[in-house]
Symmetry: C4
Subunit: 244 residues, 4 copies
Amino acid sequence: MERRPLRLRKGLPMLDKLKQQVYDANMALERAGLVLLTWGNVSGRDPDSGLVAIKPSGVEYEQMTPAQMVVVDMEGKVVEGELKPSSDTPTHLELYRSFPGIGGVAHSHSTVATAWAQAGRSLPCYGTTHADQFRGPVPVTEEMSPEAVGGDYELETGKAIVRAFEDLDPAEIPAVLVAGHGPFTWGKTAAAATENSIVLEHVALIGLLTEGLSPEAQSIAAFLRDKHFFRKHGDGAYYGQSDS
Amino acid sequence: MERRPLRLRKGLPMLDKLKQQVYDANMALERAGLVLLTWGNVSGRDPDSGLVAIKPSGVEYEQMTPAQMVVVDMEGKVVEGELKPSSDTPTHLELYRSFPGIGGVAHSHSTVATAWAQAGRSLPCYGTTHADQFRGPVPVTEEMSPEAVGGDYELETGKAIVRAFEDLDPAEIPAVLVAGHGPFTWGKTAAAATENSIVLEHVALIGLLTEGLSPEAQSIAAFLRDKHFFRKHGDGAYYGQSDS
Amino acid sequence: MERRPLRLRKGLPMLDKLKQQVYDANMALERAGLVLLTWGNVSGRDPDSGLVAIKPSGVEYEQMTPAQMVVVDMEGKVVEGELKPSSDTPTHLELYRSFPGIGGVAHSHSTVATAWAQAGRSLPCYGTTHADQFRGPVPVTEEMSPEAVGGDYELETGKAIVRAFEDLDPAEIPAVLVAGHGPFTWGKTAAAATENSIVLEHVALIGLLTEGLSPEAQSIAAFLRDKHFFRKHGDGAYYGQSDS
Amino acid sequence: MERRPLRLRKGLPMLDKLKQQVYDANMALERAGLVLLTWGNVSGRDPDSGLVAIKPSGVEYEQMTPAQMVVVDMEGKVVEGELKPSSDTPTHLELYRSFPGIGGVAHSHSTVATAWAQAGRSLPCYGTTHADQFRGPVPVTEEMSPEAVGGDYELETGKAIVRAFEDLDPAEIPAVLVAGHGPFTWGKTAAAATENSIVLEHVALIGLLTEGLSPEAQSIAAFLRDKHFFRKHGDGAYYGQSDS
């Protein structure tokens, strides 16, 4: 008789709420039309335990349940769940380790953001829609070396993302284009990460059309960009209802 | 115990009908696919009282109710409603003040109209579909100055729109592209404003494709443009059923 | 008391079946995404009486009923129905008069076909999808003169279409692009006319993308075009199930 | 009294399961938006008997049933079913004969893949989304000669496809673009063939947009391409859940 490894550490919270949130954020990503087949994944991190819940690898959205979300620790070890976590888990973990304060990561091969990634181009801030969510261009990573691809590929993908943010604030630009691959986004929660993927795809499309209409299109002025970003973010934000 | 400010002036009509119409026009804008997340807003003006009902700021469409529409006076003071009005309210009010006879204003970041706005280009009248609704090019505003953006930004946005209509009739061209930002449209009612947003997005897309097929594409002749515009508008209109 | 004009000639068939077919074809056109607002219309002709049923002008699709279809004779006189017929009725009638054997006409402002019309370009036969339905390029009309537009405009539109087919067989190319305006299609029935509008929009899009991928794209060879056209049309057709 | 030909050989399995799978794969192709009207078809092959079930020719998807799938032998003779098989059946059979190990074939006129076919261009491997499914460019066939088109056209189409794979492995690149016509895909099952059509359409679109954003776009490096392909295929695959 085979013994199943112990998946549930004694005293560990079941993290049911996080798993539900991560499930919801994965389903929202799919509902938004950003996912082809099973090729997308969202994770969320529990701020207390530091554990991360993530979509299982290659499971159909229609059949997926909240209970199937896989919980891993920061070394990628499965601490709860019967299924294999997303193959992109090491990329997610590297972002949690390197970008303090984020609580969710999303990845998809959404059509237009992926086209920018394949073109090897960062996405300019062509308008206020972009600036509402991203305070400047969304950067593209450098191409990965044969050694990085041949090594711990998914971890190296995360490192390439982190390098692209050496001079950028991931809280102000919560998105990246991995060259030749596609977008990753993040946020304070799994839901926020998904929302950033949705906005990224939208502004990637508007940006592409903008260039089609005007090959000499320019980024908007920094003062207009910042006006919009800080209407929605930070202490001076006045968009939406106050939370209290 | 905190005292809530008196929101309902004595003797003021509840404006329930207007709030329902404004709610419906907001939902129609979202259903037409013109709204990203919560980033759109429609208002309507009561011709008797001069009061304006508008979408609350940042509220999810799925959870929104007619009762949540916020009623403001022409100075932007909330006279009915529990929520904050759209942050774009001062822009709407400036249009009501400056464009006599309009009873509805709509704003979105719809994909293709926003691309024209980001490209800083007015939308030429490339065909009869455009001319059915807009009697000539839909103008783009000038870029706003650092002072305007740093001042009363949303009011200044309205003023920039009004300046773009110095030599145009807002009743004949009920739409504008705010440079680097996106479209505003208006009409006799909130529903008409939404309809103009829908048509604008459609002709913005057809116009973009027209240029792709023929970089030398020309606007249609003025006699054909006016034939179509006046088939549907004014005393000689013969499209549709007579209202009586 | 006002007397309503006699709309129903004695002994005239109610044409209920035709009205249902025309209603269905109009709804199919809208369901296919080819119609903006109320801006589309399909008609069908009863081969026995020569009467034509057509969509009423400017009526919302959601509220439309089969009984509202308007029946006109070949001079455009309403012989059955309470509403005004489509303002494009004279165009439809000119096509019935000039193209023998057709029993349905459809008109829309579908996005991509309209872009070709606005670009003033005929649609080349770039592939077998096009050739399955249209045996050669879909022609664009000449631009209409000020006199034609200022005169009986909708009738003149029909005449411009007919002139574009002087050297073409409308049974083999059941579609046209009216310059600066949009597509008209036809067929043996109202349903066939709608189907041709659907195929036209599809091949208009594929054709546009083909040129984007290869500015030197060529029409397919005549022998391949005819192979596909005659797989589906004429005595040698072998696509589909035999009708018997 | 007319005698119906014997359609069911004695002792032959009813192949109900295969017909259901082929029906499902056809419906999935349509649901994915890849099919215009009735212009798509998927087949599946029973590995034991070598018989092939395929969609009947020209039947509406809404009315189609699993029982209507037509079973043919490798010579194209109908061995079960009341309807005519797809007119493209000889193309499917040629692929089964020539590409060992495949169990499903799909064909559609999906918009963007067809545009690449009409442009006469193979689809470069511009990113990892492409490489996840196709290990290299998706080839385009040569144009067919007048003799091939005038002869056994659908069989010759299959032969043209096979010739395009003289130096390629159809198990690693399970897709082709037939010049001037459209895509065919295949896989171990009918469902896999449909999935490859879905991915092909997606990467065809991303590829087209990539070129729009960067006319000098390059294929990704072979080491990155192979990393992604073999993450999902072959003995070293680690994407998804293990089947055991």
